[in-house]
């Protein structure tokens, strides 16, 4: 090792450390939101008596705070139905976010289906896909009853058998091998158990 070579290595090493000292915090700053989970948020959407088991009632509540109306989202809420083996005292809240690319679906009373205006996705009464490009059933929101009020909480996705999994973005498959190809994001909440 010559003196010249030692100084070259030292100078390049110091330069590298200085560069890393700038770049690493900046990159960490930019990617930090991927690993951050916000506070769990529940919002009352009406008294239990407002909801029945054979049709949906549309409610609007805030999913993302701080951006005004853009942070609101729509859910279709009903009581659990024995017909589908659900607890009659529990609430079912189906998100209107299409599982294809996130357009807003609407519940069509006469057909008993959810229909997406963008690319023709169709879901049955429970939110299972029965037509069009969507890759999985409609997302749901955790629902609970507090003081006679129905409260809606974090979003979760479901498999084609309506088993709860962590929330996925539209366009991402759920269940089976897809759970690995579209891994759950740390920014989402664990799904309700059972």
């Amino acid at each position: 090792m010559t003196r010249r070579r030692a100084f070259t290595i030292a100078a390049q090493g110091l330069g590298g450390i200085a560069g890393a000292a700038i770049v690493l915090p900046a990159v960490g700053f930019a990617v930090a939101p991927i690993f951050h989970r916000g506070k769990e948020r529940w919002e009352a959407v009406g008294p239990v008596s407002d909801f029945v088991e054979d049709t949906y009632r549309q409610v609007v509540f805030t999913e993302t705070e701080g951006i005004g109306d853009a942070g609101k989202t729509t859910a279709y809420v009903r009581r659990g139905s024995k017909q589908f083996g659900e607890d009659p005292n529990a609430m079912v809240a189906v998100s209107n976010r299409c599982a294809h690319l996130g357009c807003p679906v609407r519940f069509v009373e006469a057909a008993g289906n959810f229909i997406c205006p963008c690319h023709g996705g169709v879901y049955d009464f429970q939110g299972k896909r029965i037509g069009g490009p969507p890759v999985r059933p409609l997302d749901q929101f955790q629902a609970r009853i507090r003081n006679g009020q129905v409260e809606l909480g974090p979003r979760y996705s479901v498999t084609s058998q309506l088993e709860p999994v962590r929330a996925r973005d539209p366009g991402e498959f759920t269940g089976g091998v897809w759970e690995y190809l579209y891994p759950p994001r740390p920014s989402t909440f664990p799904p309700p158990s059972g």
């Binding site: 930019a30 990617v31 939101p33 991927i34 951050h36 989970r37 916000g38 999913e63 993302t64 705070e65 701080g66 951006i67 005004g68 853009a70 942070g71 690319l101 996130g102 357009c103 929330a167 996925r168 973005d169 539209p170 366009g171 991402e172 190809l181 579209y182 891994p183 759950p184 994001r185 920014s187 989402t188």
Partner: protein
């Protein structure tokens, strides 16, 4: 030397021994016979004024040697058959300059806040003098730039101009295309109206369908699980700071390679073969 008159005396290059009017040098030969006719002050001032632009350029040139570079770049040889299709790259560059200029001025009025973004765009369009025009230039200019890039790309492809030794320039061009599309994508959210909001939602969700990394890329773009207040600031920073810097640097590299390697002749022109003297032509006495 015209140049010397512009430079303050103490900074002038000293005269070589035996030259110039220095005290140590010999007097000019013609001084001994007849004193030179002195021009009037007005005449000298006029001459100086006429020389001033050339003097300034010469002053800069002596310190930067820029003219050699500029002459080489601007007066470079272009192949026979160069036609209007070769201007598509310059047209794209012009579109980029329009975007950069109008963007700078839009940034003077735009507020990247979810509650004020839409109002600030409405203010630009309705109240600011020529605001709708500058915003319109930026909005429609983005489409023009994307279209021109594809036309330019088509020209390069169909003329075979991506081949050796210009492959690297094709690669840089593809990166420029991707960066331009990212600019178009991030810029679309900024007005923050219903259309831009939902278009960004759909665009981010399309990003998310990439296996394994897709979901994380979506969270990175949104700065969280849902499109929120930070998404707008993030898109704004990407749109006006991150990508423009990369674009300018890569456009510089792109142009450098164009100048360095030169352009290609259109494919319908055959290369000139060097004329080989045939035995018969020599016998005939023709070269």
């Amino acid at each position: 030397m015209k140049l010397d008159s512009l430079i303050p005396a103490p900074l002038r290059k000293p005269a070589k021994p035996g030259e110039g009017n220095g005290a140590k040098g010999a007097a000019p030969a013609d001084l001994k016979t007849a004193p030179p006719e002195r021009p009037s002050d007005a005449q000298r001032l006029g001459d100086k004024a006429k020389d001033a632009p050339a003097d300034v350029l010469a002053w800069v040139d002596q310190r930067t040697a820029a003219t050699g570079f500029l002459t080489g770049m601007l007066y470079r040889k272009v192949p026979k058959g160069t036609n209007w299709f070769y201007t598509l790259g310059s047209a794209t560059l012009f579109a980029f300059i329009v975007q950069a200029t109008t963007g700078v001025f839009l940034a003077m009025f735009y507020t990247p806040s979810t509650t004020q973004a839409y109002a600030s765009i409405a203010h630009i369009n309705n109240d600011v003098f020529l605001g709708a025009f500058v915003h319109g230039m930026h909005k429609w200019g983005s489409s023009v730039m994307v279209i021109l890039i594809f036309l330019h790309m088509g020209r390069v492809f169909f003329f075979g101009a991506y081949k050796y030794p210009r492959e690297l320039n094709w690669i840089i061009g593809v990166v420029l295309l991707i960066l331009t599309m990212t600019m178009a994508f991030t810029g679309y959210l900024l007005p923050f109206d219903q259309r831009s909001f939902w278009a960004s939602v759909v665009g981010i969700n399309i990003n998310g369908t990439g296996p394994v990394v897709g979901p994380y890329l979506s969270d990175f773009l949104r700065a969280g699980p849902e499109l929120g207040a930070t998404t707008l600031s993030r898109f704004y920073a990407i749109h006006m700071l991150l990508i423009p810097g990369a674009l300018i640097a890569l456009i510089g590299a792109h142009l450098y390679l164009v100048v360095k390697l030169g352009t290609t002749a259109p494919p319908w022109l055959k290369a000139d073969r060097p004329k080989i003297a045939s035995p018969t032509s020599q016998l005939n006495g023709r070269g």
